[in-house]
């Protein structure tokens, strides 16, 4: 069957599935809307968390980044998985015990302060909105590339699907669709990887294939890769660090604590029945995530090797531009792959030397998206990759939108401005907030602001420097006061934002970067994307200092902290 038809069929079938689930899993109460009724099985929640967490960036971009960074790309692998250890050990069980609906609600109650709650809402909304823009772009791009509809039409279809199941079902609908989306995305990711690993090394497990010898030789795949990239002037694949070791350390730590502090991930642990379930569920989430994350470095190494050996089959023998394969032509059309015959010999030279390199653009994203074509896999695999990319973007977008809408309807409306509304009114308000959040995300998807490219730095920086420390101190210390927590959050936030803005421009407008995006000006050589860890340390220090000189928290807060530390017994604070 033709690729186009097949892609329509596969994507159409998955969308039909999501809509079917939406109709089946409608939410009838605020508890169902915010936390899916609190009755999700820990394994099911683990699967939904995995889909929630793995975004368009994990699915489409990560392997490409690793392919071009080599060892340096490890910061993403360790950072985006190690955060779940922190989540499981430091946050999830206690927040589940607290037993409410949102992250700002915990911060507001623990720090007995409406101001703290509002500060938390602001951090949550900024982090989640910047994050959701990337997902919306992912949806539009996946549609336009695979289904050949316009970017705008693709975005509209994506928004309509999310609208359907998120507004109707809230967390309940989102949970069950995320489970389906996980299955789609993991098949779409691993099947091409298995084929490619078999082709290159004869081993069906990509994780083992990466450490195996190439078919018909006794050369290890990684040794060949090292040799090929070094011959053409790049740094050795398996040892090239990202800038320097301090920076790798800070970057990994920032991604870890940022992961543990992202509200859309945390709220998933409010949906399981018991505290013990929150612990195991985090383990299952990481199992499902690890399947993709241990495959990704194999995809990266193998795709890089395939790309290099397509262009230069043996040293000094270059592919003629006129003989380029079909995928090369297809991706040239999208502008993600660009060739410029600098020396006019009709051959393709691909080297690290910018003056002679003729592959003037090789976008990261191509590595996963074009991988099946480069490896000459059947059309149905390519169609599956399209559906997988969409599943990854849709599932993360829905989780983020729920975090945003519940912060608006539950924390701002019910918690601060209109405490008197009934549950029915709140449920209606949460649906309206969800619809508004989708509309806003869609608007930002149609008109991506200039700072869209820098949003990952912002989202992780905010979560790491403001939300994670506040939650952790709220659980592990009685002594941190409301003044301490608020001052800490604001200090962490300001330092991180200032650092990102001074090097990348205010709101990422390059002209306003008063210190320039230059390595010599970086504090200890740490790049702006990696600065969340420093912001977090400042948050902890400021909160501890201010708490020392302000009045101790009241007695009932002390009891509440003791109470969330043990799984049994009811929470002492009044319901509101």
């Amino acid at each position: 069957m033709e690729l186009q038809t097949l892609t329509y069929l596969v994507v159409g079938a998955t969308f039909g599935l999501y809509i079917g689930i939406a109709i089946w899993a409608r939410a009838g109460s605020t508890k169902e809307f915010y936390v899916a009724g609190g009755g999700i099985h820990p394994v099911a929640n683990g699967m939904a968390t995995a889909a929630d967490w793995m975004s368009a960036a994990s699915f489409i971009s990560m392997a490409g980044m690793i392919a071009f960074m080599g060892y340096g790309g490890s910061v993403f692998l360790m950072g985006w998985t190690g955060g779940f250890v922190l989540l499981a050990l430091l946050l999830a069980p206690y927040l589940r015990k607290f037993g409410k609906f949102t992250v700002p609600e915990f911060i507001g109650d623990r720090f007995y302060s409406r101001t703290a709650r509002i500060v938390a809402v602001i951090c949550l909304i900024v982090a989640s909105v910047t994050y959701v823009i990337g997902q919306m772009k992912g949806i539009g791009v996946a549609f336009s590339r695979f289904l050949e509809v316009s970017y705008d039409a693709g975005l509209f279809i994506g928004m309509a699907i999310v609208f359907f199941y998120a507004v109707l079902g809230g967390m309940k609908g989102i949970t069950y669709t995320q489970i389906a989306q996980y299955c789609v995305l993991i098949l779409a990711y691993t099947i091409p990887a298995i084929f490619i690993s078999l082709n290159l090394t004869g081993n069906p497990f990509p994780q083992l294939g990466l450490g195996s010898t190439l078919v018909g030789t006794d050369t290890f795949l990684l040794d060949r890769l090292d040799q090929v990239v070094m011959e053409l002037g790049w740094a050795e694949y398996t040892t090239s660090a990202r800038l320097n070791m301090t920076n790798m350390f800070a970057y990994t730590l920032s991604l870890m604590i940022g992961t543990a502090g992202l509200p859309h991930v945390i709220i998933r642990f409010f949906t399981v029945p018991k505290v013990a379930d929150a612990r195991t569920s985090a383990g299952w989430a990481l199992v499902f995530i690890a399947i993709l994350y241990t495959t990704a470095p194999a995809v990266a190494g193998m795709a890089r090797l395939n790309l290099m050996s397509t262009i230069e089959p043996s040293p000094g023998q270059h592919l003629a531009y006129d003989d380029r394969p079909a995928w090369f032509k297809n991706w040239e059309k999208t502008g993600l792959l660009q060739f410029e015959d600098k020396n006019g010999d009709g051959l393709i030279q691909y080297t690290a030397d910018l003056t002679t390199n003729e592959m003037v653009k090789v976008d990261n994203d191509i590595m996963v998206l074009a991988n099946p074509e480069i490896a000459k896999l059947p059309n149905w695999v390519i169609a599956l990759v399209a559906a997988g990319g969409l599943a990854a973007a849709l599932s993360t977008a829905a989780g983020l939108l729920l975090a945003i809408s519940s912060a608006i309807s539950h924390d701002l409306l019910k918690g601060v401005f209109m405490p008197g509304i009934t549950e029915k009114q709140e449920l209606m308000a949460s649906r309206i907030a969800m619809a508004a959040a989708i509309a806003m995300a869609g608007y930002l998807g149609f008109n991506p602001p200039d700072f869209a490219a820098g949003t990952v730095a912002l989202a992780f920086g905010l979560a790491a420097s403001s939300i994670f420390p506040a939650l952790m101190m709220g659980i592990f210390s009685h002594r941190v006061t409301k003044e301490g927590a608020i001052a800490g959050m604001i200090a962490g936030l300001c330092v991180t934002l200032l650092y990102v803005f001074q090097h990348k421009g205010i709101m990422f407008i390059a002209d306003t970067s008063f210190l320039g995006d230059m390595a010599p000006n970086w504090f200890l050589g740490i790049e702006p994307n990696a600065f969340g860890a420093v912001g977090a340390i400042i948050n902890f220090a400021v909160a501890a200092g201010v708490s020392k000189v302000t009045a101790e928290p009241p007695e009932d807060i002390r009891r509440m902290v003791e109470n969330i530390r043990v799984p049994s017994g009811a929470i002492a604070t009044q319901d509101h």
Binding site: M78, L89, L222
Partner: protein
């Protein structure tokens, strides 16, 4: 806090510190700080430091969470604080 709950919390913290130490060693230790040293050891096609950075640390993370949840379930029963 009752003395029993206090002992439960202390036991929890001890377990947590041990597991976080492993978490730190496999990722920041083996994957970053001791990277060059470990790379002198080769397992199959993998240099050991590279393997920890791109594969091994992730497997250990998964194991750590399950060890934590199993041991905590035991502590919950021992101190009679399970739900």
């Amino acid at each position: 806090m009752s003395t029993s709950n206090n002992a439960y919390w202390k036991a929890n913290l001890r377990l947590m510190f041990k597991l976080l130490l492993v978490w730190f060693v496999v990722s920041f230790g083996f994957g970053i700080l001791l990277f060059d040293l470990l790379n002198t050891i080769q397992i199959g096609g993998y240099k050991l430091g590279f393997w920890f950075a791109q594969q091994g640390s992730i497997y250990v993370f998964v194991a750590l969470i399950f060890i934590y949840s199993r041991k905590m379930a035991k502590l919950d029963r021992q101190f009679g604080v399970e739900e």
